[in-house]
Amino acid sequence: MFGTVAAYPRWSWWMSLGLFLAVSLGGWTRVTAQTVETSPSIPSLRELVNRLPEAQDEEARRALLMHIAAGGDAATERVFAALERGALYVDRRSRTVVEGSRKGSRYLLTDVLTGEALGEAGRRDVRRIPVDNRLRAELRTVQALGALEARDPTVRQAAISTLLGSSDPEVHKAFERRRGVEPEAALRSSLDVALAIFALGGHDPKAFSAALNTLEGRSEENVRTALRQFSARSDVLESQQVRAQRLLERAENRLRWLARLEALFFGLSLGSVLLLSAVGLAITFGVMGVINMAHGELIMLGAYTTWALQQLLPTQPGIALLLAIPTAFFVAGGVGLALERGVIRFLYGRPLETLLATFGISLILQQLVRSLFSPLNRSVSSPEWLAGAWEIVPGLALTYNRLAILGFSLLVFAALLSLMKYTRFGLQVRAVAQNRAMARALGVRSQRVDALTFALGSGVAGIAGVALTQLTNVGPNLGQAYIIDSFLVVVFGGVGNLWGTLVAAFSLGIANKALEPMVGAVLAKILLLIALILFLQRRPQGLFPRRGRQEEQG
């Protein structure tokens, strides 16, 4: 199967580096000690860093890295961070190691120790110092071992979590040392768990029982692995093995329950996405009876607004995102207003024609975005405060971005609802929807209300687009992915009923996520669509029917 054509000796040292990294940590500290002892004078950090490209084989590289770590220089952190990011280069002209960042086809070079700018270089002038996952893991372990002694307890906690999976005796020793001096109770118990895991893997039968006591009620991944391995051992007491087994079962049971809770959250989260994308439509279609097939493209415009604002504020993605919420509302609302005045108002009372015309608009908007911004997806970054997850208990973590979107969707919904219920504008909208002639007779400027209502629905679609940038692609096809679902949500909920839209969105989201583990993602979606079609064929008015002017259409 493998024909021989050419060989690549360049990589040989690199593959052997992989081997080195597989060796346990205990080994390297010893080697470090030797290297330090044998070196005639203590070289500076810069000298060591510049030796990186010369380190052609595993031993040399390993020694060198440890050497750098042992030096304790303040800039070590910088070097390691740059190495981890793959941002260290050899400048082939000066044969020195520099930090580089790509800018178009050029590289901006900086001094890795001081951060001082060193000018530009072409692609051919630099060669990257390779880094891979093993090296990163190794660097992380080295850094975590140091961080165990850090002053900040959260840093120490993070370090313990990083090191938890390790089976290395050096880590074991470090944990024991730390346990003796750790002032924080929470961290002491984390360390106890870590030590118990080591104990279960050890050979001291007296420690087993205490370790099992410590692990009682725990369900972390590493705990389960330790229990699993322990109960498979042949050299331990059967009673202790049975106990470990029981603990394991209990932990797994707990996880199964948490998984169900998690699935519920996933359903709510999917529901919130559906709600956001459909709630604008619930206004334009539900209240006004306008079939706006360009609704998806209004969502897309909101997403592109977010991207554009991030381009304007490249260093502040979070602020750009927050600013995007009102901006997208006005951009999409403005486009909606133009659509209503320019096209839709001529087609009131002819819903099928509206459908075709707005579909034409959606094609034009898509192609416009494609021509203006390129057909490629645009990259929208997530602010720090939306990254990561909130771990409620081990095994149940809710991601911040999903939580934020869930909260945001409810907020938007509540705002819309109170707008419709408690303001003069809302009253006028409802009046026009219920009886246009009567509303006009009472002095409501129905045309103006129509235009503003449509703009409102469109603006809400734009807001949905802002939220979606945190979950999915920002590209010309963004809107198409949501349009059919949005219509189904509104129809299922009952046209003209905002609460219906809310219930429909969340029940569809939860149903989808409940089905998914059983039948897979594709079939879940198909089954749900079929169920929805059948339901609507029995009850075309949806869950919560309400009479409005859309009832006239036949």
Binding site: L347, L356, A357, G360, Q367, I526, Q537
Partner: protein, 360 residues
């Protein structure tokens, strides 16, 4: 719409002449005339014309439903694709041992995805009459079930449109699944022959075109005759004043159902004729976009005219061929603008324009 332009005797005769002429001229121009002759038709043009004819039939089917019964289906692409799949399955079975694995029992895509036996729903597709029956039955039965459920609950207007769109969307997702046994995303392709005739021969291609032209003509005549009957009158009345028709004691649902099923079957036939001429059927045909495009053919040509629908399909397909070759960027702009302009300024389509000039 008292005097529909489709009923003008001149247009009617011109339509018949056009399809008959096409059926006579194409074989001559492609097979008999030397390639340099200005009247000669390359095999490329023959397959293009064949494709346009199938699309015209599809537009005719939708016009029957939308233009006369007032029901806009945004899922007609699904019936078209189902008819196409039925024909494609027959063509797959005709390959026999000529597939790349030389397997007599299973189509190629099943061999390399490790299917052990032919699924039951593929049984019988070795037989041409059975496959043709399925071309009519599968779309027909789907329309019957869907329509029965929908019309019973008086689903109409945009609700009907949205639900048919959801239907074709669900079918698209289903046919994309490889486990369905229809070749997944790749669909069915690499057909060899039809009733023993080599599909790659120019003569077969011309014969298919003749059959298609005659089928479109036949379907057109059928629709016309049907609409001229009492049945047709009720259906048209239904479009304009459903409440009154119901009040007069007609079973509205049954009338709608008959038209819907007939229209779905015609779409299925169009799909069945389309597949051997383009050489592939895949789930892309179920895309909601395709179905909406059919509606725009009908709207551009002039709905409720039969002839207009076919004209619209021909014109737009030809423009698409031209634009995608010359100005690929412009195609979606043009299509989008067409949707807008026709609905805003040409509510009765191209034929309406022609008629207005005729009267003025």
């Amino acid at each position: 719409m008292s005097s529909s332009p489709g009923n003008s005797p001149f247009l009617h005769r011109a339509t018949i002449a056009f399809f008959l002429g096409l059926a006579l001229w194409v074989p001559v121009a492609n097979l008999l005339l030397p390639a340099e002759s200005p009247l000669a038709l390359s095999s490329y043009s023959v397959s293009l014309l064949g494709k346009y004819l199938c699309l015209a039939l599809l537009a005719l089917a939708l016009d029957l439903l939308w233009g006369y019964a007032g029901l806009l289906s945004l899922g007609h692409g699904a019936f078209f694709a189902l008819g196409g799949y039925a024909m494609g399955m027959y063509l797959m079975r005709q390959i026999g041992t000529r597939g790349v694995y030389g397997d007599a029992d299973l189509p190629d895509f099943m061999v390399f995805l490790d299917w052990s036996e032919l699924p039951w729903y593929w049984w019988g597709f070795d037989s041409f009459p059975f496959a043709m029956l399925m071309v009519l039955l599968v779309p027909g039965v789907l329309a019957l079930v869907f329509g029965w459920l929908a019309f019973r609950s008086r689903v109409t207007g945009v609700y009907f449109s949205i639900m048919t769109q959801a239907m074709t969307y669900a079918l698209m997702l289903a046919f994309f699944r490889n486990e369905m046994g229809f070749g997944g995303n790749n669909g069915l392709t690499d057909f060899k022959d039809l009733l023993g005739f080599d599909l790659h021969a120019d003569s077969t291609r011309c014969a298919l075109l003749v059959v298609t032209a005659l089928t479109v003509l036949g379907s057109y005549m059928l629709c016309r005759r049907l609409l001229a009957t009492r049945f047709g009158a009720v259906v048209t009345a239904l479009r304009d004043q459903e409440g009154r028709v119901r009040f007069l004691g007609y079973s509205v649902a049954s009338y709608k159902l008959v038209v819907f099923v007939l229209s779905a079957m015609l779409a299925g036939v169009a799909g069945a004729l389309y597949v051997p001429q383009v050489g592939i059927i895949n789930p892309g045909e179920f895309q909601p976009l395709n179905s909406i495009e059919i509606a725009i053919w009908v709207a551009v040509g002039g709905r409720g005219t039969l002839v207009g629908a076919m004209l619209g399909a021909f014109v737009i397909a030809a423009v698409e061929t031209l634009l995608t070759a010359q100005f690929p960027e412009a195609w979606l702009f043009a299509l989008g603008a067409l949707f807008l302009l026709v609905t805003l300024f040409l509510p009765r389509g191209l034929l309406g324009l022609w008629e207005r000039r005729g009267h003025g």
